[in-house]
Symmetry: C2
């Protein structure tokens, strides 16, 4: 018999307090749909009392018929006033959300210092605000801010704040480690005590300031809490909130609790990556469970063991959370990594004699700054070249870029000279920047020979300075991600010139797209408009 | 009376198994010096049996007279052989390191599947290898790989492996959660059991696959372990190793253990950032204790409370780990954030009337993709412009870039037309790339007027695509970090053209460098060589 844990997602509210995170109402609606599909039980969408964007979000989200309970966030009423005249409480009601989170104080120090009111008035603020929401038929969740610090300072007062919320009809009482400074042993002890004396469903809300947000959440669940407040990817103020992407699979796969369905759990990796895309954050490759390196193996010994039985080095099957195993190629790798990659590509691994050369070549390129761990397609081209079974679909003779800015106007053009099937093609194209112009000019030159190239487009472009001693004159590494609507692949280029590095990665991307494809046209079939020149 | 915990750093060995991390022998030596200054007790430098780079490291590191014990890593001897003929053990001895870590199996499944030998032979491998090191007067640390999985599967066998190591003279017995899949409650229970039956100093080595590496380490310490194996910034294979940057301050500031001196603890933030620089990794802004956002406050309410008493929202004083408090500016911020920033800059905060306009302007720019959280200097220019107390040191009329590649040769030139003190300056310069060429041309134009500009140089350059739907045609944000050998500042530019975005950030950088500086030369004083033109 498994116990259910209520998953309360606050990515759209507390998550947006994270540095570098900013979401439009449209972004929030998109993310809400994904969260709903993942199966979270509450979606806290924002603070309608603080800005018009959140008001718009609630208005539009109501029409989406989510399974999750849409939840609005606000504070207990202002001191020395009445709920009926409190503008923030009015916004909560007006949001027409099914539930509202009310944050309130339980640390006497905060009541005095931050609120600057009496302990009694704070209790009245809690009681009256919760009762007011309940009179308006909203589910009321009381988030007890700084509860653990409050409990340590004055346990009686902290518990009396919870008791007031319960008395007023709060549906959940959530204990917040707002500073993120509490240890798992303390969390376990204090939550156990609260569960013993407060007869209401208890929730936990932790922050990651000691890198313990996940552990603190699990400790609270072990002590009897039944709701987890957290965010996708652990986004949130300072060091972030509790990371639902780590908590949900751990509760479900290792602790026998039930949060979402097994099918929904398989969408975890894609939800994590989707939210990081929308939030315009880079997903850390080493993110537990869902990161690109979470099941990536680099050490040569590990790789040979993994090939024998993946259980030897993996704590769960990556597929359970929608992730997958990867074998990385790097200077630490033994020959087994390269061979396993070649095997994956269907190349003849018996060509061992050439393999030492390939390893040396990869080591040499890595030494120059190339990194194939994030550029599978460039690595595949390298291996195929080494195995000597691919002809180049085209060769480049030269290119030129002109970029001119005067007043508000900016023009960028690229000229490329390419040889395909022994014929020279000479094209010019404009672009939004030098790399876009080069991309356009190159594809203009090739599309007549290889019509499928029309579907290829770049989906990400990253520049990394390799040596920060002299940034704009230093070596840079460019990573390009491309897609043809079916597959996605990554390529790499390195140079002290960002244009040249981009160009290298761009060429690899196009070469990869054309792997195994023959030119569809011969010289004779080419229409006049292609603009061939025969120097 | 505080108990000491031995800190065993494996950044240079296990840390380099992390995706994207690659260190030269020179890098490793630099990092070893920093680790030694931080006060770690063991520095595991690498695996001299696996590559010549690590052999070189040990050779050179021996001469540095570190306080920490230099430690080499290797495996127990090969199956069915003798230590005297084991090449890896020979490399450990030859490294002349003071200590050696020997990794060995204690999980019966692994002995059968990965080693493919008998349980008895594995015990002999452990015993003989440890004894061999002891005969060569090395401190011997036994790292029991997959210990927790092994204990869960076959506790008797797992404990017998530890007992063998102890019997052979191991100085430390370290329990490794190699898969990173064990929970804190399990760690606590199993370590307690080991401490009860094995009479040797016990260490803990955890991985972060469930985002629990720090919690698992603390649980082991609570259960009696006295050595922590981990890495700076938690670098390591897959999801990383236990993060010493979180563990050391938590043990020392919150759990009353002693690891390093208080003075050494204050270097933690700078060590973390130094290692990330050398490893060429970006330090996550939200990294606990040492990240740039670890004590950054964004929410308007928080900021006003922080201004009253920083204890209200901070779990420790940031200075204890060498970090500092920051107030972020963003759309969520109330007026108080902007005013606190203006106050920091010494601007007249009584100009409240203008402040609403500034907030609106910042919101509008953030909407366009600007981000001032990482670009303090651009924000300062914006505020100073709004307060109207700065004249621009120069104005740009136009620029042009030419970039040409043919065969192996690549040439990039930039031409800029600048107006300074009412005079037009027209310069051309080459560069390693378009941004470098622009930087060179602009500084060539300005240095005659503002000689101090000669000291300004770019130290980092980052490009971020803001909208990934169509990468090379999408909007990009460029962040530039500059330095004049005294101060460091960051600026931002946004455009669909990477050159234009870079140019914006570059201009802000130079404008910031010239804040408050007057041109040192008038027209009359200028030497002929400046190349003025007066159209």
């Amino acid at each position: 018999m498994t116990t259910s844990i209520s998953i309360f997602d606050t990515t759209l509210r507390d998550g947006t307090q994270g540095e570098g995170i900013s979401l439009t109402a449209e972004d929030k609606l998109k993310i809400a749909l994904k969260l709903d599909a993942l199966g979270v039980h509450y979606i806290e969408g924002g603070n309608p009392g603080s800005n018009s964007k959140d008001i718009e979000f609630f208005k539009r989200a109501r029409e989406m018929n989510l399974n999750a309970k849409l939840t609005a966030f606000g504070s207990t009423r202002r001191k020395n006033s009445i709920c009926e005249q409190d503008i923030n409480l009015k916004h909560l009601i007006d949001s027409k959300a099914m539930a509202a989170t009310l944050v309130g104080k339980s640390w006497d120090f905060h009541v005095h210092t931050a609120l600057q009111t009496t302990l009694e008035e704070n209790l009245a603020m809690i009681y009256e605000s919760i009762a007011y929401l309940k009179r308006h038929d909203m589910e009321a969740i009381f988030d007890s801010e700084h509860f653990f610090d409050g409990y340590k300072a004055n346990p009686e007062y902290a518990l009396s704040a919870l008791a007031k919320a319960k008395e007023a009809g709060a549906d959940w009482i959530v204990l917040c480690d707002t500073n993120g400074g509490t240890l798992p042993t303390e969390i376990h002890e204090i939550v156990s005590r609260v569960c013993a004396v407060i007869d209401a469903p208890i929730g936990i809300h932790t922050h990651n300031d000691c890198e313990l947000a996940v552990a603190n959440t699990l400790a609270a669940i072990n002590a009897g809490a039944r709701q987890v407040q957290g965010t996708i990817n652990g986004y949130g103020e300072r060091c972030g909130n509790a990371n639902l992407c780590s908590i949900i699979p751990t509760l479900q796969l290792k602790m026998n609790y039930s949060c979402v369905s097994d099918e929904q759990l398989k969408s975890l990796t894609s939800v994590s990556r989707y939210v990081s895309e929308i939030a315009n954050m880079i997903q850390p490759v080493n993110q537990p469970y869902v990161g690109n390196a979470a099941f990536a193996h680099k050490g040569g010994i590990h790789v040979s063991a993994i090939l024998k039985d993946s259980k030897t080095y993996e704590h769960i099957a990556p597929e359970l959370v929608g992730n997958k195993q990867r074998v990385l190629v790097s200077e630490l790798a033994g020959q087994s990594n390269i061979l396993s990659k070649a095997q994956e590509l269907g190349l003849d691994v018996n060509v061992i004699s050439g393999s030492r050369e390939i390893i040396d070549r990869i080591k040499e390129l890595e030494h120059q700054g190339y990194q194939f761990e994030g550029a599978d397609a460039s690595l595949e081209l390298l291996l195929r070249d080494a195995f000597g079974n691919e002809e180049s679909a085209f060769t480049i003779e030269s290119f030129k870029i002109l970029c001119e800015k005067s007043e508000a106007n900016m023009v960028t053009e690229a000229i490329v000279r390419v040889r395909v099937n022994g014929q020279q093609v000479y094209t010019i194209a404009e672009g939004n920047g030098p790399v876009n112009a080069l991309d356009n000019a190159l594809r203009k030159a090739l599309v007549q020979f290889y019509p499928s190239i029309a579907n290829v487009h770049l989906t990400d472009y990253k520049v990394r300075v390799l040596d920060d001693k002299d940034a704009t004159a230093a070596k840079v590494r460019v990573l390009i991600e491309s897609s043809d609507f079916k597959d996605t692949w990554s390529t790499v280029g390195v140079s002290s010139n960002v244009i040249e590095a981009s160009w290298e990665a761009l060429l690899d991307s196009i070469r990869y797209a054309l792997l195994g494809k023959k030119s569809s046209y011969s010289m004779e079939q080419l229409p006049e408009s292609v603009g061939l020149s025969n120097h």
